[in-house]
């Protein structure tokens, strides 16, 4: 069996393989540690962490939808100080630990990062810019290029650690926001976060989620996520972590062919606790089977025009 090289680079992070769990779907790793050796992962991404402890939303927080899941957890987390202790324990795994950072004001994000800078050994931050910004009437930071760039600049000034910006798909032009984040100093981008959605119980005639709306994830969102990864990787130079509906290695390979340097797996863990290691093995199998020596060879490969092919690399418009 030929060894294939699965390693990739995200900012300053060297990942031995391109697979990591998605934020909020893997706790602080503790819950999945009994299932397999977590040091097999390319990196670990822990849940959304805020400066202060956050109790989260009242129940009901989940609703299953066709091939999808709506969640409105409300960022339940113990706050940056307590999270740092959990993050530092993960250091023993010897893999990069990426901390998803959230807040409702620029100062919230900065405070969380300042605490994590001094208290934690985190390798990187993933800024979750899908949170409503109290200062702009609850509009999410990541819905406008200017507010995204302003936030990224502020956080960039606080850290030399790898800075990843996690983009929201609930926008009209994700490419503009991706560019703004990259220009403001992001080392990498991750996309997509959940798509805003809703479910109503026809028996009680009330929304299922106590929060009324929630974020859609799972196989249902995969085509949307894939399209956005294609568009963003066509427009920016920084590496992209692709996610949204990846359930198996075939899905992961699709994202990499679209241009993602690495992939993250969220909802699929809930159905299959072994989803991440199975995807790692499956990617290696795909590369071997198709004669690739390194995973980086397939990144963006679907965009390369083939002789006689009709694929326009830049063309992602569509008229129904």
């Amino acid at each position: 069996m030929n060894a294939v090289d699965l390693s990739v680079q995200i900012g300053r992070l060297k990942l031995k393989n391109p697979v990591m769990p998605a934020s909020g779907c893997f706790g602080y790793g503790e819950e999945y540690a009994p299932y397999y050796d977590l040091s097999r992962l390319g990196a670990i991404v822990v849940k959304g962490t805020t400066a202060d402890p956050c109790p989260g939303n009242p129940p009901v927080r989940l609703a299953e939808t066709p091939a999808g899941l709506l969640n409105a957890i409300g960022l339940q987390n113990p706050g940056a100080v307590a999270a740092a202790a959990k993050i530092n324990k993960l250091g023993a795994l010897g893999i990069p630990v990426i901390v998803n950072v959230a807040g409702h004001s620029t100062e919230d994000y900065c405070r969380a990062v300042r605490i994590l800078e001094t208290e934690s050994t985190a390798s990187a931050y993933e800024l979750n810019v899908s949170c409503p910004n109290v200062a702009s009437g609850g509009m999410a930071f990541g819905t406008r290029p200017e507010t995204t760039a302003a936030l990224v600049k502020k956080v960039r000034a606080l850290t030399d650690r790898t800075l990843i910006v996690k983009l929201s798909p609930n926008v009209t032009d994700i490419v503009a926001i991706a560019r703004a984040a990259a220009e403001a100093g992001a080392d990498a981008l991750s996309l997509i976060n959940t798509l805003l959605g809703m479910a109503i119980d026809i028996k009680t005639r009330r929304p299922v989620l106590a929060n009324l709306t929630g974020g859609l994830s799972g196989p249902a969102v995969k085509p949307v996520a894939l399209r956005m990864v294609w568009q963003v990787t066509s427009a920016v130079e920084v590496p992209v972590i692709g996610l949204g509906g990846i359930s198996n290695a075939d899905d992961a390979v699709e994202f990499m062919l679209a241009g993602a340097t690495a992939v993250a797996i969220g909802t699929a863990n809930f159905r299959n606790p072994y989803a991440c290691p199975e995807v790692i093995d499956g990617i290696a199998g795909y590369l071997r089977h198709n004669g690739f020596a390194s995973v980086t060879e397939i990144v963006g490969l679907a965009k390369k025009e083939r002789p006689g092919g009709e694929h326009g690399a830049g063309k992602t418009d569509y008229c129904p």
Binding site: F26, G27, P59, F270
Partner: protein, 253 residues
């Protein structure tokens, strides 16, 4: 708590709206623990369904379920010989009573975990009072082994078509006046509230098994929370790991 494929040995309807499913396998499970059952192999339905362990003997695990929606209806269509993908046992089960007597209160499908509890308590030499309530005689399921396990077994139906007519909780105050046993309950939320209230008035400990919508079942997603009584930032507890069994004073029912 691994993931495994098991072979279904038997599946049959045992009462109106109640199926009993037995699969071959060996598990070490506490009463009150549950399994996350994959009802299909495709993306839809996406999530596993949490179901309590109804019985667990050498080489066999039994579920008792009410087809309540899409997932459990698909499960009811399974046939002997089919394989069943299961994650578990999961969660924290019922603690043993400190004293000699336990009073078990089951509403409807709530009998699923309480039957297994009765078996384990009997094995530990405890005396059991078992109250089972159902809508009517058709939907009342009393597992054949139960009468031998419970020193005192009583049942109630809403319409009086079997046992006493009324609510399963109505006899509880008198029973607790007499024996001061520890209370264990599983059933609809209004029933659990009433059981908890009666137990509190009688000054006996009360353990309730709760339901919540779940995604991961292992504590990773924070989706299955119930409001906790504790005062710190941790306003919510996860039913899948801190429960599904809670002391009735720990949570806001």
């Amino acid at each position: 708590m691994p993931v495994g494929d098991y072979r279904i040995k038997e599946i049959r309807k045992v009462a109106d709206g109640i199926f009993r499913l037995a699969f071959a396998g060996n598990m070490e499970a506490e009463p009150g623990q549950f399994l996350q059952v994959a009802v299909g192999r495709t993306h839809d339905p996406l999530l596993r369904r949490p179901l309590s362990i109804h019985d667990c003997v050498d080489g066999e695990v039994v579920l008792l379920f009410h087809p309540a929606g899409r997932g459990t209806n698909l499960l009811a269509e399974k046939k002997p010989g089919d394989s069943l993908n299961v994650l578990g046992p999961l969660g924290k089960g019922f603690p043993l009573p400190a004293g000699q007597t336990a009073v078990l209160v089951a509403g409807g499908i709530g009998i699923a975990p309480l039957f297994y509890l009765a078996k384990v308590l009997k094995g530990a030499g405890k005396e059991i009072v078992f109250l089972a309530g159902a809508r009517d005689t058709g939907s009342l399921y009393i597992p054949p082994e139960l009468p031998a396990l419970a020193a005192d077994l009583r049942f109630t139906t809403d319409d009086g078509s079997a046992g006493r007519r009324g609510l399963v909780t109505e006899e509880l105050p008198a029973i607790l006046d007499r024996i001061k046993g520890e209370v264990y309950a599983c059933g609809p939320l209004p029933m659990l509230r009433e059981v908890a209230r009666i137990a509190r008035n009688s000054g006996v400990p009360c353990h309730v098994s709760l339901e919540a919508r779940m995604a991961c079942g292992v504590g990773a997603c924070q989706g299955c929370t119930v409001a906790a009584v504790a005062g710190d930032w941790q306003k919510y507890k996860r039913v899948c790991v801190e429960g599904p069994v809670f002391g009735s004073g720990e949570v806001i029912l």
